[in-house]
């Protein structure tokens, strides 16, 4: 379980599927019916063409480290220093996350390193998608 104090997201009608998927350990994205391109964050229409013809699909969970900061000041629910990262998903969209099972140092956090999604529960309702380094040989 995630340490208490971390701000908890509150799903809306447009994002509920994402958080329901996260609870089941699935990273759900949406795809534009016109272009086939994936997008994030969730909305029931395509940001590329405006079409409401979109579908939800499960992402591979593979990503690379796009950029980050390592925060050194205390924040409720977090133990500094901790990295606030943006990862680029294999399907194209980027998302903010934390990098787990990894030292929170510039030496360990190398841009473009391969990552994979892992979910951790805040409570019965919300699980957050985190990313961890892909182990060698995998």
């Amino acid at each position: 379980m995630i340490a208490p104090g971390r701000p908890k997201p509150k799903p809306t009608p447009e994002t509920k599927h994402f958080w329901d998927g996260a609870k089941e350990g699935k990273l759900l994205l949406q795809r534009c019916g016109d272009t086939g391109k994936a997008y994030f964050p969730p909305r029931p229409f395509s940001p590329y063409t405006g079409t409401r013809n979109v579908e939800i699909f499960q992402a591979s969970g593979r990503a690379t480290l796009h950029s980050y900061v390592i925060h050194h000041r205390p924040v409720p629910g977090f133990t500094p220093p901790y990295a606030i990262a943006v990862v680029e998903l294999e399907e194209g969209p980027r998302m903010m996350t934390n990098i787990v099972e990894c030292e929170q140092t510039p030496e360990a956090l190398v841009l473009d390193m391969p990552l994979e999604v892992v979910f951790e529960a805040m409570d019965e309702e919300i699980s957050l998608p985190f990313f961890r380094p892909v182990k060698e040989g995998k």
């Binding site: 971390r6 809306t12 994002t15 980050y68 925060h71 000041r73 924040v75 980027r94 903010m96």
Partner: protein, 382 residues
């Protein structure tokens, strides 16, 4: 179509004091600056017929507090560059005949936080769902998120980024109102307290109290005022996303690339004609992004341009001559203070005056990289 130089700034003033101003609440910082701007122009509240300030429900608070009955208002609030957008919207409104004399105000008790704007995280917002749960806590944790990608893409070093703070402090040393004036070195920057890697405290803006106000009218009326008019040659604005994680390109701002060139093209100037440049520097990377996205240098060349001394005192393109958000003041929405410095430079009254400066470009950013506004000023009417 709004003509180049058709509208002028005839009043421009900051609050009487900036920095730590615990004797004033936020609304009084607005009013103090507004009264100072009206005093230098000889205008009374009853002479003002348009009001702009940041945020929902604010124009009515400011208008009523000052005793103004406006026939035009603008509450555009897109972060610290909102005032650039107010200038743009006000110029269009005066051109259209919606108002004759428009007052734009800013006040923020960023340090003392007396009646300050609360910033509650909204857990149902997209930021609240997809950014805040991962630990960002205010601009120092969000604004620098693209920096490591920018550094890797263009081979920018920590020393290059530190130079921005060093040069800005050089300018601050010439300004008695700047909060920090002592010279600093690259080593000082790189040894200062870590805030959010890769940025240390000397690469983050100040947090201060202060206010500012501008008064705009038709340039044809400018001779009625005792102040030297500063003409608006061109303006631009844009927004991208208020989620930094969703910026399309981490090495460049879409909002910058729209707002800046729009203003420069509307002004009908060449970049080499620019004598003075303000780039809102909430954090040390912003002058680099601004120089590149506005086309003063090619992508990836800002580090060399700054290292070679072009933006420092005596350089060919002086940047952030008041000492910037990094060393002069930063209330939370610094754009008003960048505009004030452009006006001072065009009036010839800046503490670090650029001799003979005729064209000033003032470029703002708001809400991390989410919004941008750019104004091109001149002290000569085309």
């Amino acid at each position: 179509m709004l003509g180049r130089g058709e509208i002028a700034i005839v009043g421009a003033a900051e609050s009487t004091r900036i920095g730590a101003v615990p004797e004033m609440s936020q609304i009084m910082l607005h009013a103090d600056a507004a009264l100072n701007a009206m005093a230098e122009t000889g205008l009374k509240p009853s002479d003002i017929d348009g009001v702009a300030c940041v945020g929902p429900m604010m124009p009515q608070q400011i208008a009523h507090y000052l005793g103004i009955t406006p026939k035009w208002v603008d509450g555009t609030g897109v972060g610290g560059c909102s005032f650039m957008l107010h200038v743009r919207h006000a110029a269009a409104a005066i051109h259209a005949g919606y108002a004759n004399t428009i007052l734009i105000t800013h006040g923020e008790s960023g340090k003392s936080r007396i009646n300050a704007t609360p910033r509650p995280p909204e857990p149902e917002s997209l930021n609240g769902q997809f950014e805040i749960p991962f630990g960002p806590f205010g601009p120092p944790t969000l604004f620098p998120i693209p920096v490591l990608r920018y550094m890797k893409t263009y081979g920018v070093t920590h020393e290059d980024l530190a130079m921005v703070s060093v040069v800005t402090r050089e300018w601050a040393g010439k300004n008695p109102r700047a909060m920090f004036r002592d010279p600093i070195t690259v080593d000082d920057v790189l040894n200062s307290r870590m805030i959010a890697y890769p940025f240390r405290i000397l690469q983050c803006c100040l947090v201060t109290d202060g206010g500012g106000a501008l008064i705009l009218t038709k340039s044809d009326r400018a001779k009625d005022f005792p102040t030297k008019p500063v003409y608006i040659l061109g303006t631009g604005e844009s927004v991208e996303t208020n989620m930094v994680s969703q910026m399309k390109d981490f090495t460049s701002s879409s909002a910058f690339r729209v707002a800046g060139p729009t203003a420069i093209e509307a002004a009908g100037i060449d970049r080499k004609d620019v004598d003075h440049l303000m780039i809102y520097d909430a954090f040390a990377h912003l002058p680099m992004y601004g120089l590149e996205d506005l086309g003063f240098v090619k992508r990836g060349e800002a580090k060399d341009f700054i290292r070679e001394g072009n933006t420092r005192p005596g350089g060919k393109l002086p940047v952030n001559t008041n000492g910037g958000g990094l060393s002069y003041t930063h209330t939370g929405m610094y754009g008003m203070f960048a505009l004030q410095e452009s006006v001072r430079q065009m009036r010839g009254t800046a503490p670090a005056q650029i001799p003979g400066a005729k064209i000033s470009v003032c470029h703002g950013v708001g809400g991390m990289f989410s919004a941008s506004g750019t104004i091109v000023f001149s002290n000569e009417r085309p």
